[in-house]
């Protein structure tokens, strides 16, 4: 779901493990809000794992404990993860606004109770977004995630809200 409608909904990537209550202040600190993008990206998740921003690679997967993305409504929080190449976010639970924002940007985000204890940092994890399935340790453990509701899956399939608006604008013309 990298913006191309109908593209695969399965991801396989290296996991970055985070604890509970990772806030939008950690994902996108307020003090850099007007700094250029490259500066802002350098500070993503800095308070939780200072090495993350420099070592994360495209296709990596963020795995976290409960209440991931709590805090403000800033869309830069999921946007920064997307810009760093994170393919999908899976957490024991997601904060409401973060979950909606991620999907609005075309970044799949799943609630999957227990995922943070099943996954080890830096191991390879497979996530099937539409099926709501997380496979850990070469099939050792299969966890079921909460299915993303159909209206949100539609947004994801279209690559996020921006392409939806472009289509709407074209229709209106």
């Amino acid at each position: 779901m990298t913006g191309t409608p109908g593209e695969g909904t399965r991801f396989r990537g290296r996991a970055w493990l985070f604890g509970p209550d990772i806030s939008t202040d950690m994902l996108s600190p307020g003090q850099y809000v007007h700094d250029p993008p490259e500066v802002r990206l350098r500070h993503v998740l800095e308070p939780a794992r200072p090495e993350f921003a420099s070592q994360v690679r495209p296709g990596d997967i963020v795995v976290a404990a409960a209440n991931f993305g709590c805090g403000s409504s800033r869309e830069s929080a999921p946007q920064h993860l997307k810009d760093l190449g994170v393919a999908v976010v899976v957490a024991d639970s997601l904060a409401r606004i973060f979950a909606r924002n991620a999907i609005a940007l075309g970044l799949p985000a799943l609630s999957c109770p227990g995922v943070s204890t099943a996954v080890r940092d830096q191991e390879i994890v497979e996530v099937d977004v539409e099926a709501g399935e997380v496979v850990v340790g070469d099939g050792r453990t299969v966890l079921s995630a909460d299915r993303i509701p159909e209206p949100m899956l539609d947004v994801l399939r279209l690559g996020g809200i921006e392409p939806m608006l472009a289509a709407l604008a074209a229709q209106r013309r």
Partner: protein
Amino acid sequence: MTEEPGASAAPPQSEAMTAAEAALARAAGVARVEPGEYVVAEIDAMMMHDIFAADVLEMLERTGIERLHDASRVTVVFDHMVPAPSVAAAEHQAKARRLLRRYEIDAFFEIGRGICHQVMVEEGRVRSGELVVGTDSHTTTYGAVGAAGCGIGSSEMAYALATGKLWFKVPETVLVVLEGRLASMVTAKDLVLYLMREGGSAEAQYRSVEHGGAGTDSLSLSERMTIANMGVEMGAKFSLFPADGAPTMRSGARYVATHTVDLGALSPQVAVPHHVENVVDVGEVAGLRLDQVFLGSCTNGRLEDLRAAAAILRGQKIAPWVRMIVTPASSRVYQQAAAEGILADLSAAGAIVEGPGCGPCFGGHLGLLAAGERCLGTHNRNFRGRMGSPEGEIYLGSPATAAASALAGEIADPRELVVRTEAEEVAP
């Protein structure tokens, strides 16, 4: 939707629905909705502030959306990075101003008018029974006037501006029954911190919180705003108070959980680093030395809050090692506080009074912390890094606790101060 937005004509079954369900059903144009269901709802009011307005409107421009669905429902308030602390912020705001004209948004409040949520309520831009969205998580504040308000991101706001609609999941509702009255020096902030301590985000996550019971009648609009404001810290989608004249609890409505709180039994509460749920009685942290005290924000920057602090600080001096920052929530609050001599009293006590706006609340500017520094503030979040250095510590408390702590130079229980003052007063 044929109904005029904001008309409080509720469908007949609304008694048997929670306030959140009733607001969503009305906005979706259906007789009733069930928790868990998704509805597409017409939005009554939309709010943006200076951090996101430009991004949202740029997305509309980029995607070729020529005009808004209904610009009259939109309010924009510049409150976060005001006055612009950097060239980048100034450019960002200039871009937003251009786009506001381009999209014919007339309800625009410039820097200095105040914090968006305060301005929305003061200007009557939100009314009871309405469904309101804002590009700010503390949009829950509007629950104080009976409006279902929630925060959304920039992309969803762009969609809402273009179409007037958005999809919502109907939340389950938790009922908080308030009884009795708050004791002296115990405030609405202490109540909401206590609720965080008891239920926290586990209980209210994705749900709507509704307040009822006889105790709600004793709470002023300002106090209700403090409580509804922090609803989002519990993870709640809405935090609602009954509209004026409405019954405080809806007969037949389904609540997933009910909590009863005796207001009279509450004591001053403090949230300790680095999460709003880490709440303790003030006594447990009393004596911790402070570097900074912040009185302000959309949680506690209103007239009642400034009055409470001034009542403690009038004629006194704050501890010489403490920096006390005061940010009135709006120009009206500022002017009234000036007229009452409150700003002069706070200044004479050693505080710095900043202009109306968010101030240092979100760590943008106007009073950030250095590593190792400790602040007690009346705002709503104490996440690591929220106010500057990730190595700074943020404690949250009421305006009374903040003023007492500024005076003492360390976290202090405002009730003990009262006892001392009264004793001094009766002494010959």
